[in-house]
């Protein structure tokens, strides 16, 4: 029951209402009984249409009654009537659905019946249907059923897509808060203006135009959230390429980490592994035993000796060849690292637009420093324009957002963790250490991108704000020997993955239960657990 306010009534009123309801119920039960009996007897006639119409007019969600109506209509069409009369029947069916939709504009059954009639009859008037959508969307601009129905009608009568695109423009200039229109617009933008040559989702000039449109919407009223989601999407609409990030070979394990999830099929067709310049065959096993993963273990028969030359060749989907050669980091430990970059790449003109909008955002922010959406947008502009240059400011903003928008503090904390890790990773990839430690003062609350550190032998996650939610992530630390999780907020070890650890430090996790640690030790006898 949605949106039905409980009203207090007198006993007298209650009794009167109950009597009325019982009367209604009597009629309802009688009608249903009669309909079901007629159906059993195969009476597919006008009377059945009248009976079901009566019940549906006040209860449009009784799906079986609509099924019965369709059966009757099919029967009549097949057996008895003239084309003209059938057409009349269909018209009255449309009237019934219209009536029902007035009672319940979200009645799935009524919308479906309308679709059925229009696709079944030989003389559908699609133009009229499109006009009906226009009227309904004026009454409720967010009814997703109406929008879906509109898309159905459009798929049938195929007006120029440009017209539909302009319809969303019109709707948005009526009210920028119309999220449904932003949504529809995003679909058409991709279809009308894809950047086929550059491989970006949207052509430059349109990308820029949309950014401008969002800006005028968002600045009309910054507290209206609709446009901001569209803007966030535009900011993320950049080209993405699957890349290998790191490759580790030890006598125990050979592992390859990717920036995105890939399947074994992808790896088999796009990646070649060379030991001493000879292609090596083997089997790829997902680290999490899933079909798609960002860390894969390569099972092969090569012996890892003191000096071995290992390289991999990845043919990207753009037909670009990346070759990564392993270096010896320690005896019997060979690691290859790719160049990594988390910065979004925009065209020059879009970048110019972003910079201009950043300026306006900053001006607005100066007037209202605690406006959540202005602050958040400024922060995303900064991050998207130049994440490393503006990093300090970005993190400061996110700290402010934790206070201004405290409901979502958990999100902002995780965002700080993620963007700090993204800042640190390229530096860590430059040096030859097999050790990972958070280099920022903000404590980590989550462990994104952990597959990038799959080559580390020692991982120091001490004194962070990690909870037991992160335990399954540790599976990425495939060759880690020493793991320090002391001083965190772990509450249980239930989902601790199987790892070949030598030492695990769990000290100062005050809510961790001693009994559970003993059980853990029992189960993982080879690990030295410090507690």
């Amino acid at each position: 029951m949605h949106g039905r306010l409980k009203v207090r009534t007198s006993e007298e009123e209650k009794a009167r209402k109950e009597k009325e309801r019982q009367e209604k119920l009597k009629h309802f039960k009688y009608a249903m009984q009669k309909i079901f009996t007629k159906r059993k007897n195969g009476d597919q006639d006008k009377e059945q249409l009248d009976l079901t119409e009566k019940v549906l007019s006040s209860n449009p969600d009784i799906y079986t009654l609509w099924n019965i109506r369709r059966e009757v209509l099919i029967y009549i069409r097949k057996n008895i009537d003239s084309e003209e009369n059938i057409s009349k029947l269909y018209d009255s069916e449309l009237n019934l659905t219209e009536y029902c939709l007035k009672i319940n504009p979200k009645s799935y059954c009524s919308w479906l019946q309308r679709e059925w009639v229009l696709t079944t009859r030989t003389d559908p008037d699609w133009k009229k249907e499109l006009e009906l959508c226009n009227i309904y969307l004026k009454l409720d601009e967010r009814n997703f059923h109406t929008w879906d129905y509109r898309r159905f009608v459009v798929s049938q009568c195929k007006p120029p897509l440009q017209e539909e695109f302009e319809f969303t423009t019109e709707k948005l200039y009526d009210n920028f808060s119309n999220y449904s229109a932003w949504h529809y617009r995003s679909k058409m933008l991709l279809e009308l203006y894809p950047d086929l040559e550059g491989g970006r989702p949207i052509q430059d000039n349109h990308h820029k135009h949309e950014l401008k449109m969002v800006q005028s919407a968002a600045f009309t009223d910054p507290d209206d959230t609709s446009a901001w989601f569209y803007q966030r999407w535009l900011l993320g609409a950049v080209k993405e390429t699957i890349r290998v990030v790191t490759f580790t070979v030890t006598p125990q394990k050979t592992i390859v980490a990717w920036n995105k999830f890939v399947s074994a099929d992808y790896i088999s067709s796009q990646l070649k592994v060379y030991f001493n310049d000879v292609i090596t065959e083997g089997k790829w096993i997902s680290c999490n035993e899933h079909e798609y993963d960002n860390l894969w273990i390569f099972n092969h028969n090569e012996e890892i000796v003191e000096n071995i030359n290992v390289k991999i060749e990845h043919k990207t989907l753009d037909n670009e060849n990346e070759i990564i050669t392993c270096e010896k980091y320690e005896p019997f430990v060979f690691i290859g690292k790719n160049k990594i970059c988390f910065q979004n790449q925009y065209s020059e003109s879009v970048m110019k637009e972003l910079n201009e909008q950043l300026d306006s955002c900053r001006q607005l922010l100066a007037l209202e420093p605690d406006s959540k959406w202005t602050l958040l947008t400024t922060t995303f502009f900064l991050h998207c324009i130049n994440a490393s240059l503006y990093h300090k400011e970005v993190v400061e903003n996110l700290q402010t957002l934790k206070k201004v928008d405290s409901l979502r503090a958990g999100y902002y904390n995780d965002l700080i963790s993620k963007w700090n890790i993204e800042q640190q990773l390229p530096c860590d990839y430059e040096n030859n250490s097999l050790h990972y430690k958070n280099g920022f003062k903000e404590k980590l609350t989550s462990l994104p991108h952990l597959q990038y550190y799959s080559f580390c032998k020692t991982v120091d996650l001490s004194n962070q704000d990690l909870t037991s939610c992160i335990l399954p992530f540790l599976k990425k630390l495939q060759i880690c020997e020493v793991l320090d999780l002391s001083g965190n907020k772990l509450t249980t070890l239930k989902r601790f993955p199987n790892l070949n650890l030598e030492v695990l430090n769990l000290q100062n996790n005050h809510e961790l239960n001693l009994e559970e640690i003993e059980l853990f030790k029992e189960k993982h006898k080879s690990i030295k657990v410090i507690f």
């Binding site: 309801r21 997703f144 999220y179 949504h183 999830f261 798609y292």
Partner: protein
Amino acid sequence: MSFKTKDVVLSEDRPKTLLIQKHSDFLAAYGLNKDDYEFCMTEYLRMSGIYWSLTAMELMDQSSRMPKEEIIAFITSCQDSESGGISASNGHDPHMLYTLSAVQVLAMYDRLDAIDREGVVRFVTSLQQEDGSFIGDKWGEVDTRFSFCAVMCLSLLHRLDAINVNKAVDFVLSCMNFDGGFGSKPGSESHAGLIYCCVGTLSICKRMDALKADELAWWLCERQLPSGGLNGRPEKLPDLCYSWWVMSSLSMLNRIHWVDKKNLEQYILACQDAETGGFSDRPGDITDPFHTLFGLAGLSLLGNSSIKSVNPTYCMPQETIDRLKLEPQILYV
């Protein structure tokens, strides 16, 4: 034009503690009077009604108050021998929605033997389309809700192999939107309820990797309003059932901490009716079994210890999912 956030204000005299006994009484009494007006008028969704009530009772550890044998016999009587599908009630037509509800109820009772399981498999399988989508019944309505019903139903019967899972996944992914969310079919706007269905489908099919996790989870956590309640789409009023659709999705995405749990708990508790028992969509509205289940299930996800642990994918007690040895995927990225 000044913009005003659509929301409600919680009053000071709202319920602040969980009224388990009241809810149990409310559900136990629901349907006892077969001539009750509301009860009769909702016959067309009876099977789901039974699922909502029983699951709520299970979560409160009070399911012994439900007429178990009567329910099982009713379900058996609602299976259509020809198609294998199950209807909402006697006289009504078999449909995917009620087939799932029936299978869920029987799974909780550990009585899946009460129906022709192969019949159910046959029914569900027959509704998969060339593009991987599922229709709700032979009349052809396509909706991602039915994709979710199909994979959930078959996985509870350990017969996912009966359909083309890859195609089912591809169809669901074709419904992904600019905001990372999902609608009811390709092109449809994102909606928290349908996001739950699509994320749930990917969780059962173990393809959570295909989600844009950060974008989607951000959109989901932005559903939380100052009252603590969650809405289902931007610029809409909060509704208790979104505590479930949003929170279960965030749980499968391992990002439940992106909403403010304390405020949400306050909102959920405020939707209780201290007189009649049960939960409603918003404080002060009429209660019903549907919102009662999703209120309790939401509290369970928030870690309320007086309610049994609920599985975020199946919306059934975790102990049932464990007994059936099902392991729906949770995303770790």
